[in-house]
Symmetry: C2
Subunit: 408 residues, 2 copies
């Protein structure tokens, strides 16, 4: 097998030459076995039924490790003891046609659902992992010290640590479903994905018979506060923050935006809801700089500061569009999928002012009760340009503009 | 052009059919014009001289935006006012053969160095952006409150905010140089990159004449404390932390590892060094979970906790290797490039215990003075398994094991 791989190279594949007959995928099926396993390993041969690679972009690091001899090319995961710490689903949404198109709802149950195939030597890999953790944040310790959050020994522990169940999700795209979600022809979508990436994965166009694609984009992390089973049960109120990555603020505390303060506020509110008999959820999406990346983001910062008249709300989105060609590439249309995976039908308290997130969730069939803006005292003074610009563009505000901090 | 693009599709390219003659790349050249611009836009046609796409994986979001009509496929960046807030280089290392192979040292100077070509309609894009920021972190405010860090009104400002110059860097790989760095044949490297990613970019194998590749992996962010010009000047002592992303800890404060505490300690030390007449640097590499990704990381957490005998240092790396096939895929061999880009020849105080990072820097020709472990009081109690395992594997410790917290 190894020597054969070394001698023969196939640039791309075509229908008929390689068959996906052994493991056809029937998306939206009633069970994991009817749906079939997603197989995208390089050595899978005729068993492969997906375009792309497991681990997305990290397959490039795997290639370097293999190339340099640090890793065997035929290494296979030993999945012993890796299964979820808490069961998630199956939920009704997993089988509703078109409800979930950008992740594999069965992706965390691989070792369980396909035990026989794995024992038979098929290389099936999880695309979701569920574990538990305790998180310790200075802002949460302060919330405890100030009495906003109480120690209950369960959700919030003695030292101020917060207990969570968390899930990491790699993207798994069902291309017909993705096309339908954006209301475009599937062939046109496949071609744009191929061409705009400079020719990544010719199989996007040569293999219309392969419906599943593992794109090398960043994934999603879910932080669940309280019993995960409550998320799909409307009797328990749910507080939820959907957060898109902003490394500058989330990690380094940049004072030009509200990202980290809003995220931390969401964590605090989610923990409190879990203590009060409900559940909390924070969704963390790897979509740096509105999914335009950090290089573009920093270029835009410079253009905003240097423009005639200086940085101001009126030209906030315009500067991004000039540099990036679009003001936002986060495509919130796919965002509700992670909530459907958890069985969520209603968010009682949504910790976000984003109209784009709100609209996507409602269009996805998720009810939203109250919407909670960031408390005034948490927004850094220098974030006023961002906030004003967003409010002007349709962000939700409870009717009060942040007048005290507004630039004139 | 648009209608032609829509009708004709080229799955991959071959030497001779498409020429890179107009803008040949001469890596390690003496000047930007001799080196030539890196061009990887989908519409570049015969001017394209690199495999891959600008923005890496974010090109996939761009494709969705274009496919859904939110963005024009021929949008071009307007680079007005986007140039660096502080000059970086050119440094001698930019021209030393093989010194920098994983980023484009001229990538932030595009608008300046190729102004004529841009005016002539060539679509050349920056792969590096340099901006300024103020960072506000609760731990740094605490360091100020406790007197470990003083307010000087320049590096550390009145409210405890820290002034930084920061750079975002997208990877630009010179494939012959990457192969040399790992001591493998270039053809073998290209083939591993192609095959292990499930067939991403056939041009890796069909176009040996194209030497440059923009891989869709995460990039690097540099946080510079004090005058960036000091980084390349040995008269000014340099304190540096090289940090690999750990979202669980860096953002959410997971108590199972030392990542965020060590990062924050590095920020504090870097700021102090800038105040004391030197310079500080924090390098943030997007290599989540040892470049194995978060799904693998969470699977490993579960396997560590559930193994017979429970989580312990002796089997820390073994569990990762069982699940991932390798204990670490971060390939520190490429890490020194960002420091060479800044002109760094010596790190006086290196805020890291990692032997892999140390070895890579020294092999890259960067001298290291003192090495600073994480202060005992900053390490979360639950991180002892990680720390013990790393020390056993060769991490630097100043001769003292973290005995007080060691598991028996």
């Amino acid at each position: 097998m190894t020597s054969n791989t070394a001698s023969h190279l196939r640039l791309t594949s075509h229908p008929g030459r390689v068959s996906t007959r052994r493991f056809p995928i029937q998306w939206d099926a009633q069970s994991a076995s009817q749906r079939g396993p997603v197989i995208a390993t390089p050595n899978a041969g005729a068993e492969r039924n997906a375009i792309g690679a497991h681990g997305g972009a990290y397959s490039i690091y795997r290639a370097l490790a293999i190339s340099s001899g640090a890793m065997a090319s035929d290494a296979r995961p030993d999945l012993t003891d890796t299964h979820p710490v808490a069961p998630i689903g199956p939920h009704a949404q997993w089988r509703e046609p078109g409800r979930i198109v950008s992740l594999d709802p069965w992706g965390h149950r691989v070792a369980e659902d396909f035990a026989a195939e794995l024992a038979g030597g098929v290389d099936i890999r999880p695309t979701i992992a569920v574990t538990s953790a305790r998180i310790a944040l200075p802002e949460i310790r302060e919330a405890v010290a100030r009495g906003r959050l109480k120690i209950d020994g369960e959700v919030v522990q003695a030292g101020g640590e917060v207990a969570v169940t968390k899930a990491a999700i790699d993207p798994v795209w069902h291309l017909p479903g993705i096309a339908a979600r954006f209301d475009v022809e599937e062939a046109q979508l496949r071609r744009a994905l191929f061409e705009q990436t400079g020719g990544m994965y010719p199989e996007l166009v040569t293999r219309p018979d392969i419906a599943v694609f593992l794109p090398p984009i960043g994934g999603i992390t879910l932080y669940i506060f309280g019993d995960p089973a409550r998320l799909g049960d409307r009797r328990f109120p749910l507080t939820c923050r959907v957060h898109d990555e902003c490394n500058s603020s989330d990690v380094f505390g940049s004072d030009i935006c509200t990202c980290r303060p809003y995220l931390i506020h969401g964590i605090e509110a989610a923990a409190r809801q879990a203590q009060e008999g409900g559940a909390g959820l924070v969704v963390y999406n790897r979509k740096e700089g509105r999914a335009l990346g950090e290089v573009t983001k920093f270029l835009v910062y410079n253009a905003r500061q240097r423009q005639p008249g200086g940085d101001r709300a009126a030209t906030y989105f315009e500067r991004t569009e000039c540099v990036a060609g679009v003001r936002d590439a986060r495509v919130q249309e796919l965002m509700p999928d992670a909530l459907h995976w958890l069985g969520v039908r209603r968010i009682d308290r949504f910790i976000s002012m984003s109209n784009m997130k709100y609209d996507a969730l409602v269009a996805g069939g998720i009810e939203i009760g109250e919407r909670a803006p960031i408390p005034d005292e948490l927004a850094p003074p220098d974030a006023c340009v961002e906030m004003e610009a967003k409010i002007a563009a349709g962000y939700f505000t409870l009717g009060k503009a942040p007048a005290a901090r507004a630039v004139s």
